[in-house]
């Protein structure tokens, strides 16, 4: 079981308020991702749940019981760190067995669980090596192995993939998702990468300056962002925002259209502009289009075959069904 509830949790470092009182519910078995720009408090929030930081005020409930004052060792949670944080003086086997040794399990049971975890994570051949002799991806798997052997109530991941190269990152992302499918244990995952958030999460928590901007499934956030911040943060490339006359036509302070919801044509459309930078990815092409008198270029996604280049005339037509309207406070309208 791993149901975690935060009630009015607040964190201040000295005079600086990092997280104003905040409420959040994480259900058993959920994969929750905390996402937000650097310094938004997502890691602090995770460390509060872990017990590595003390809350300034409020309550943390784990499976219904008050864990606010319980030390990290006794919370029954496992954590995977960005730096892996393996014990450099121990073999892979001893690293993975460490939490079991601390729990005073007998040797046979320790071996059984370590070997089982090693098999799942493809580490069997490396059990007698030291962490220093492993690649980044292998180290990350050892860190995950160390977390799974103790069968925790929930897993906490603190940007676990940021130190890996791009190809490995995609692979490990899938492995972590598969692990979640198999174990169905609650996972809380911190990242600044919205792609990781979108692909892995059951529920995304978008944070800014310690405040929760929106909580919802990846598609809820994509389809109906609660405000401009969430609209801009979720989705890649980011949403285009227009103010002034164009927004007034829709009776809003600002409107937003995602690059994939604009049709590009060489001959006709609502907005006429010129192609600035174009990024050809093969499957897709992204055009940065300069429309006369608009302060910022519009990003548009087109098929891979659209053959337009720098300086060419281009006509854009947004999908009217998928225009997001925002009021003066930046909140979603209607």
């Amino acid at each position: 079981m791993g149901r975690i509830v935060l009630e009015k949790v607040k964190k201040a470092f000295g005079e600086t308020l990092v997280i104003p009182p905040l409420d959040l519910e994480i259900n058993d078995g959920e994969f929750v991702v905390f996402v937000g720009p650097s310094g938004c408090g997502k890691s602090t929030l995770l460390r509060l749940i872990a017990g590595l930081e003390d809350v300034t005020d409020g309550t943390i409930l784990i499976d219904g019981s008050d864990a606010t004052a319980v030390p990290p060792a006794k919370r029954g949670l496992a954590m995977v760190f960005q730096s892996y944080a393996l014990y450099p003086h121990m073999s892979v086997r001893k690293n993975i067995a460490f939490p079991l040794r601390m729990a005073k399990l007998d040797q046979a049971e320790q071996n059984r669980r370590v070997e089982q975890a090693a098999e799942v994570l493809n580490l069997t051949d490396y059990l007698d090596r030291r962490p220093g002799q492993l690649s980044g991806g292998q180290r990350q798997r050892v860190a995950i192995g160390r977390a799974i052997v103790r069968e925790p109530a929930a897993f906490l991941f603190d940007e676990p993939l940021s130190n890996l190269d791009a190809a490995l990152r995609v692979g490990m992302r899938l492995e972590i998702s598969e692990l979640h499918e198999r174990l169905s244990t609650t996972m809380i995952y911190v990242t600044h990468d919205q792609v990781e958030a979108m692909t892995m999460a059951d529920k995304i928590v978008v944070l800014q300056s310690g405040v929760i901007e929106q909580v919802g499934s990846p598609l809820e956030l994509y389809r109906a962002p609660r405000n401009r911040f969430v609209a801009g943060f979720i989705g890649s490339p980011r949403m285009n925002f227009l103010e002034g006359d164009e927004a007034a036509k829709f009776n809003a302070q600002a409107i937003g259209v995602r690059p994939e919801h604009i049709e590009a044509s060489a001959t006709q459309g609502n907005w006429a502009g010129k192609v600035g930078v174009s990024e050809h990815l093969g499957s897709d092409t992204f055009f940065h289009v300069h429309v006369k008198n608009w302060p910022e270029p519009i990003t548009v996604r087109a098929g891979g075959e659209v053959d337009l280049h720098h300086g060419d005339d281009i006509y854009l037509t947004p999908d009217p069904e998928r225009i997001h309207r925002f009021d003066a406070q930046g909140l979603r309208m209607g």
């Binding site: 060792a73 954590m79 760190f81 944080a85 393996l86 014990y87 460490f98 601390m102 160390r146 103790r150």
Partner: protein, 276 residues
């Protein structure tokens, strides 16, 4: 670009290095040589360097006149004991300063070090009186405690520096893995800091072994270590250079041998953290 060093320059560097090395080592060499001379040769003018009648007589006399092993044993107990006691106190202290620093941690560290700047003789009187009161005068336990206190700032400082090099996340991982504070320090921090702890131990054994002010002032017979053993050969009636040298050689030999075999560890420890 790597700095170009010519062969001539290299040879010169080597020669200068040897010269400086010999200069530093010369008093020890001279002491050892003198210990094999007769008293007459020892004070001969001009001094005789190597061509004298080598004799072991001084060593025989020294051993006959005083019980070397008893002094040696006291030195071992006092140097080893004070270092061990210091380490036991300093590991948790350095842990807290390195990993849970407060706003005053830096000040405390500096304040601790500042006690080393006080001339020891300044506190001799109060400590002497305390020792009389507590019945610690001329006891090994008393001397062990004093030397531990004298060297504690250095032990804490050194360990603090080594601990600072250890990423805090690894200790947090141990905490998440269910380790108590004791287990965290015992199974994770200490093994990772072994090189640093080892050189701290070595340096402090050497410092305690050579400490002469407190060992001479607070002991008479029972707890007297090798420093007192040497001092007993410099008497007001006249110096017996050869015997003094023999006693000195016997006193420094153990620590010299220890230092020789652990020099690699010592150098590594002292430069630890200098280069990442």
């Amino acid at each position: 670009m790597a700095r170009a060093v010519t062969n001539n320059r290299k040879a010169l560097n080597t020669a200068v290095a040897w010269l400086v090395g010999l200069l530093i080592f010369f008093p020890i060499l001279w002491t050892v040589l003198t210990s094999f001379k007769t008293e007459a040769q020892a004070i001969n003018d001009p001094p005789i360097f190597l061509f004298f009648d080598w004799t072991l007589e001084n060593y025989a006399v020294v051993q006959e006149r005083s019980d070397y092993l008893r002094f040696l044993w006291n030195s071992i107990i006092i140097a080893g004991g004070s270092t061990l006691l210091g380490i036991i106190i300093a590991v948790p202290a350095a842990w807290s300063m390195a990993f849970v620093p407060s706003r005053r941690t830096k000040d405390i560290l500096l304040w601790m070090l500042s006690t080393k700047m006080l001339p020891a003789v300044g506190v001799l009187y109060p400590i002497y009186l305390l020792f009389i009161q507590l019945g610690l005068l001329d006891t090994r336990i008393g001397l062990t405690i004093v030397l531990m206190l004298i060297n504690l700032p250095i032990i804490v400082w050194m360990l603090y520096t080594y601990f600072k090099e250890i990423p805090a996340e690894i200790l947090e991982a141990a905490r998440m893995d269910g380790a108590s504070l004791r287990e965290e320090i015992l199974y994770v921090l200490t093994p990772m800091a072994v090189p640093g702890i080892a050189s701290t131990i070595l340096l402090n054994i050497i410092l305690a072994w050579n400490e002469a002010f407190w060992t001479l002032n607070l002991t008479a017979v029972d707890a007297a270590p090798l420093t007192a053993f040497i001092a007993s050969y410099s008497s007001p009636e006249g110096l017996f250079y050869a015997k003094l040298s023999a006693a000195s050689t016997m006193a420094i030999a153990p620590i010299l041998i220890l230092g020789w075999f652990s020099q690699k560890q010592l150098v590594r420890g002292l430069t630890f953290g200098a280069v990442k």
